[in-house]
Structure formats: structure tokens, C-alpha cells
């Protein structure tokens, strides 16, 4: 039987079978951050265990980082305490830490790829569900809880059941104003937020192969929103080009040897899958969510589904969504007044995302009723954007230009919605309360759509916002 990438990597990293029937899987790269690791270090402490592979463990601080005033100690003493704990734990165990002020600090799923730590053929674990992002490189990224972080720190392994693999075959050409974010929102809307439970997703097909690494990361990032813990894309020349020259990527002749290995772990042409789903994107529109989970998404010209049009098992959550969002079934999304616009997150906080948003913002003004934030995903992205003058473009348009972190994606820092504010957001979750206000409301969309909403003061279709807006899916000029 010809193997897919997932099963090749799994078999390569399997240490053995456990008495419970689970596999013991070696983790090639462990990424940690301040929110989910302190309790794990505490558990190690209690048991007197060392970190087995400190040299394969890397840390950064992202979730609680204030993006406006980063002076230490933080105004929020709880956030300060969390950062101190991480500083102490990494120091004590000899773990490399890209802390605040480091040129490599940033959202954990941004810095792994930027540094070239994330490579094809690896198993990667991190105490964060968006670890699936790293799958864009042909790696297998697992989001894990704190008890499993303890396991990885202590043994560099996790105990896990092998999931099935579903191939998601994407064909067709994206129209202007349609992005990777729209592809993944469409996949989640089609398969449902629990459709991926028990599966790893392989994103494949001509459309996926044409995507840049940053676009691939956007897609793999949101696998978990469709219920799939793992999402990946087979490595190819685009992957190798991205990695060449990065700090932790193999250099010189080792790079060529690495490419041979990386090619060898890709899915075979005739690889077998447990399931296949096909999607054609020729007619795909910019997507926007209308509800309280990422599967409640529609094309921008569509209307919010009526209760009667939904399958019975979707109705309970749809009713909850109509009520929380205060949206009427059957009504359009276009024209809804927004209060806040957020460009950032591990889904869409990379340089290409900022370029797309800046292209739209250039020469325009944020609507007076809108508070707009641009939060680069990492210090590297911030520096690159500043070299390109994007910070000035945003500032002149009235967007607040902030420091790197997770920010308003989950609002563990001071960036929060107030009351019932409605936020156009390039992040990944529109759960009730997600952006820091229990009554706040989130609309997920692409970064360009967020920028268009920011300057319009309402949800718009980027395609008729301005004729010749002039971007293709890669963020380069057509």
C-alpha cells in the first residue's frame, strides 16, 4: 500500500506500541509559551524530572503580551507573573527563549517557520490548538494540553491514537479578492466544525500547490476549527525555497541532503486515504462568518441561512447565533456596521497578510466610528513591515500599529472588545466571548476584507469596493 505523508512521518517517529494500544510517538520539535507550560514545569518539579531534550525545546511569549506598552513589569501583574515563570523555567532547564525584546519573539506558530525550526518530516507539538499551522511544511503538528506538555518535556514523547487521514483535494483558480482564508472557511463550512474529529487533513490539489507558504499556513492553521487536530500539505519547491537560508534550516550541502529526505516523505501519487473531499474554488467568494463558530460562514453575497434551510442538528447553535449576534435569519452580511477591525493572529498576521491589508488601506481613512488595530504576528513581521513602510501606511490611514503578539484573537492581553461591539477580524475563532467581552461579536474574514470593512465602517464585498483593487491571491500585483 502506498503511504501518505502522515503515515510515513508517524511510522518514522513511532517509538513503540503502549499497553493501552496507543502509540508512543517521538516529538522532533517542542514549542512552548507562557500560558500552557507553567503547570507542566511544576509537575516536572514535583516529580524531580529533568527536561529530556532541552535542545529540541524552544520558547516564546505571545498570548499575554501587551501590544501598546510593553515596559516591564507589565501593568497586569498576572501577565507579569506568567512571563516571569517562563523566564525562570527556560533558564533553569537550558531552553532557548525568544523573549520580549528578542528580534525573534512572536506568536509561537509564526516564529517556528520564520526561524526554519519547522521543517518537513518532523513531528511538532505545542500546547496550543493552532499547532496544525506547522503542517504547511509537510510536518505533523499536534496541539496538546498541559499534561501532554509535561510528557513531552519529560520524555520527548506523547501517547496518542493514530487518526485516519482525509485528503481535501482543492481545484480551480481563485478570483480577485479571494484568499487562502476563504478556502479554509469554505472547507469548514462544508464539512462542519466537528467534521474532522478523528482525522488528519491533507490539503492537496492544483490550487494548494500554487499557494505560497504563508497562504498554506493560513489553511493548515484552521484545521482544528474543522475538528481536525492535524492538517498538512506535502512539501515541494515552494517549501524548500522558503526554508533556504533560515537560521535553523540545514545549510550548504546538508540542505541538498535535507531536500532529498523532505521529498521522500511526501505522499505517494497513489497513496491511500480513509476519505477524500473535493472542493472547486472557481466560484468561491470572499467568505464571512455570521455566527458563533467558524463553520457558520457564507459567501459575502449570500444571506444568513434561514433556520428552515439548516439540517436539524445545526439548528440549536444557529438559534443561539442569531440571538447572540442579533442578526436576522435570511438577512445579508453586507452593510453591517462594525465597531472594531483587527488584522493579526497566527491565522493572518504574516507579512503577506499585512501587505494585502495595507494595499487596501493606502490613501484611505479608517471610518470615524471604527477602532482599527494592526498587530503583526511576530517581531520579524513587524520589522519587515516597517522596512516596507507599511506601518506608516496604516498609521496614516488611522490604523493603530502595535507590537507583536496574539492580541485580540483571544484577548488575554489589554486588547479587548467592549460590550456588544462588532469586530471584523482576521483571526480564527468567533466563539461567544472570544475577543474579551462576554457579549462581544466577531466576524471572521480575510485581512483584506477586514481592512475594507475598517475604511467603510461596515462589512463590504472587497470585489466591488474598488474596481481594479489589483491583488491576486498571493498578495502580489496582478
Amino acid at each position: 500500500m502506498s503511504k501518505n505523508l502522515f503515515n510515513k512521518i508517524w511510522d518514522l517517529h513511532k517509538v513503540g506500541a503502549l499497553p493501552t494500544g496507543q502509540d508512543q510517538l517521538f516529538i522532533g520539535l517542542h514549542l512552548i509559551h507562557e500560558v500552557t507550560s507553567p503547570q507542566a514545569f511544576q509537575m516536572l518539579e514535583e516529580r524531580g524530572l529533568p527536561v529530556m531534550y532541552p535542545e529540541r525545546t524552544f520558547a516564546t511569549v505571545d498570548h499575554i503580551v501587551p501590544t501598546a506598552n510593553q515596559a516591564r513589569p507589565f501593568e497586569d501583574s498576572l501577565a507579569e507573573e506568567m512571563l516571569l515563570a517562563l523566564e525562570q523555567n527556560t533558564e533553569k532547564h537550558g531552553i532557548e527563549f525568544f523573549g520580549l525584546g528578542s528580534e525573534h519573539q512572536g506568536i509561537v506558530h509564526m516564529i517556528g517557520p520564520e526561524l526554519g525550526l519547522t521543517q518537513p518530516g518532523m513531528t511538532i507539538a505545542c500546547g496550543d490548538s493552532h499547532t496544525s499551522t506547522h503542517g504547511a511544511f509537510g510536518a505533523i503538528g499536534f496541539g496538546i494540553g498541559t499534561s501532554q506538555i509535561r510528557d513531552v518535556l519529560a520524555s520527548q514523547c506523547i501517547a496518542i491514537n493514530r487518526p485516519r487521514v482525509r485528503k481535501i483535494d482543492v481545484s480551480g483558480t481563485l478570483g480577485p479578492g479571494v484568499f487562502a482564508k476563504d478556502i479554509v472557511l469554505k472547507i469548514i463550512a462544508s464539512l462542519g466544525v466537528h467534521g474532522g474529529i478523528g482525522y488528519a487533513y491533507e490539503y492537496a490539489g492544483e490550487t494548494i500547490r500554487r499557494l505560497s507558504m504563508e497562504e498554506r499556513m493560513t489553511i493548515c492553521n484552521m484545521s482544528i476549527e474543522g475538528g481536525a487536530r492535524v492538517g498538512y500539505i506535502n512539501p515541494d519547491r515552494t517549501t524548500f525555497e522558503y526554508l533556504k537560508g533560515r537560521a535553523y534550516a540545514p545549510a550548504n550541502s546538508a540542505f541538498d541532503d535535507a531536500v532529498a529526505f523532505w521529498n521522500s516523505i511526501a505522499s505517494e501519487e497513489d497513496a491511500e486515504y480513509d476519505d477524500v473531499f473535493e472542493l472547486n474554488v472557481d466560484e468561491l467568494e470572499p467568505m464571512v462568518t455570521w455566527g458563533i463558530n467558524p463553520g457558520q460562514a457564507i459567501g459575502i453575497t449570500e444571506n444568513i441561512p434561514r433556520l428552515s434551510s439548516l439540517a436539524e442538528e445545526q439548528r440549536e447553535v444557529a438559534k443561539k447565533a442569531y440571538a447572540h449576534m442579533d442578526f436576522e435569519e435570511g438577512s445579508p452580511m453586507r452593510g453591517r456596521k462594525i465597531d472594531v477591525a483587527f488584522v493579526g493572529s497566527c491565522t493572518n498576521g504574516r507579512i503577506s497578510d499585512l501587505r494585502e491589508a495595507a494595499e487596501l488601506a493606502k490613501g484611505r481613512r479608517v471610518h470615524p466610528d471604527v477602532k482599527a488595530l494592526v498587530v503583526p504576528g511576530s517581531a520579524q513581521v513587524a520589522a519587515q513591515a516597517e522596512r516596507e513602510g507599511l506601518d506608516k501606511v496604516f498609521a496614516e490611514a488611522g490604523f493603530q500599529w502595535r507590537g507583536a503578539g496574539c492580541s485580540m484573537c483571544l484577548a488575554m492581553n489589554p486588547d479587548k472588545l467592549q460590550g456588544r461591539e462588532l469586530c471584523a477580524s482576521s483571526s480564527n475563532r468567533n466563539f461567544i466571548g472570544r475577543q474579551g467581552s462576554p457579549t462581544g461579536r466577531t466576524l471572521l474574514m480575510s485581512p483584506a476584507m477586514v481592512a475594507a470593512a475598517a475604511v467603510s465602517g461596515e462589512v463590504v464585498d472587497i470585489r466591488d469596493f474598488t474596481p481594479g483593487y489589483g491583488l491576486n491571491h498571493g498578495g502580489e500585483r496582478v
Binding site: E81, A159, I197, R229, D257, M412
Partner: protein, 213 residues
């Protein structure tokens, strides 16, 4: 707020039966942001999380109690949570099952469970089991009619008894066996293979002495 006797110990902690009363929490896709809002995760221990379970749905902006099963007097002391499809979706935060456990929940019964959430429960020694939609509906209705209904979850026979009724439930066989034989805290089991782990590390193309050769 009651704590499980075995929750703080580490080795050979066998879990085979959970007996008590149930707390029906109706709804699909109940996410971990609802179970524990992110602002309560600014802590370096899990200890105080129980009081914040479902905080934003249990309390209004003024801190007054909303109608919510976690607030209802008749479910006070209930230790078995019964919810619907895709329970625990979203973030990987173990703070979510930790908050439930520290609130007093000792087992979760749902139509389906998000994968990372189910894994976190398993790693904490909390049985999280699945039953069909109709069975869940019947069970929730029965508990709502009689909150004192005695429930018994038996992992050995994979059955749930509710009064005179008896149901079969599903749980991953590996989670079940880890609970039954007390190896749900996997660190020691994994570490017992330390030589094999080191060998595996050295054998990986990207970690061996001559990388990728």
C-alpha cells in the same frame, strides 16, 4: 467545591466506576472558551479554576447569576456532566477540563467530544464517553425530571445505568484501558522507554550526527 480523592496522586490510580448524579448541559459545539474564558487563564496553577467554569454564561455583567445548570440548586453536587455534540471544541487549553474537574465533574458524557479535549480528559484520569443523540436526549430529559437520579458509569462493562435504565457507551479502547489499569498519567510509562527514545532520536534524519545522511 469538591475535589476527587485521586486527582492529586500520580501512579496506579485506577478509575473504573463513577457513581453520582448528573448535570445536564444542553447544547452542541460548547467550546473551551465558554468552559473557561481566556481571562481566567492568567494563572500559573490550575488550583482555583473551578469557580470560573462557564463563568460568562453563569453570571451577567453585574455578577448576578443567570439561569444555568451549573447554578441550579437541584444539580448541586452533581459529578457527571451530560452534554451534546462536539463538546470541548476549540482551544487545546487543559484549563477547560481542569476547571470542570475542580468544579466537581468526575466524568463527561456527550454525543461527541472534540479530540484534544477528550485527550486532555484522558490524561487527567477523567472518563469522557460518548452515547447516541437519542440516548443523550433521553438521559438529559430523565435527569431534568429527576435531578436526584442515581447514575453509574462502569468502564469495565462500558455501560451507564440511570435508575432502571441501562445504556452502552463508547470510549476509545486505549483511554478505557489507561483508566482501568491506572496508567492515564502517561509520563512514567513513556519514560520507561528512555533508551528506545534516545535511539529513536538518533535515528531521525534531522537529529542524527550527520544530518540527513
Amino acid at each position: 467545591m469538591k475535589k476527587r480523592a485521586h486527582a492529586k496522586e500520580h501512579d496506579t490510580q485506577r478509575v473504573s466506576r463513577i457513581v453520582g448524579t448528573a448535570l445536564p448541559l444542553r447544547g452542541n459545539d460548547i467550546d473551551t472558551d465558554q468552559i473557561i474564558p481566556a481571562r481566567f487563564m492568567k494563572v500559573v496553577t490550575f488550583d482555583g479554576l473551578g469557580q470560573y467554569a462557564f463563568y460568562d454564561v453563569r453570571f451577567d455583567e453585574n455578577g448576578q447569576e443567570n439561569r444555568h445548570p451549573f447554578n441550579e440548586r437541584e444539580y448541586k453536587g452533581a459529578n457527571i456532566l451530560i452534554s451534546n455534540s462536539n463538546f470541548g471544541c476549540g482551544s487545546s487549553r487543559e484549563h477547560a477540563p481542569q476547571a470542570l474537574m475542580r468544579f466537581g465533574i468526575e466524568a463527561v458524557v456527550a454525543e461527541s467530544l472534540a479530540e484534544i479535549f477528550a485527550g486532555n480528559c484522558a490524561a487527567m484520569g477523567v472518563p469522557a464517553v460518548r452515547m447516541t443523540r437519542d440516548q443523550i436526549e433521553e438521559l438529559q430529559t430523565a435527569v431534568e425530571a429527576d435531578p436526584g437520579l442515581q447514575i453509574e458509569i462502569d468502564l469495565l462493562s462500558e455501560s451507564l445505568k440511570a435508575g432502571a435504565r441501562e445504556y452502552r457507551f463508547h470510549i476509545s479502547s486505549s483511554y478505557r484501558s489507561a483508566l482501568l489499569n491506572g496508567s492515564w498519567d502517561s509520563t512514567a510509562v513513556l519514560l520507561s522507554q528512555s533508551e528506545a527514545i534516545r535511539r529513536k532520536g538518533k535515528s531521525l534524519p534531522y537529529l542524527n550526527e550527520n544530518p540527513f545522511k
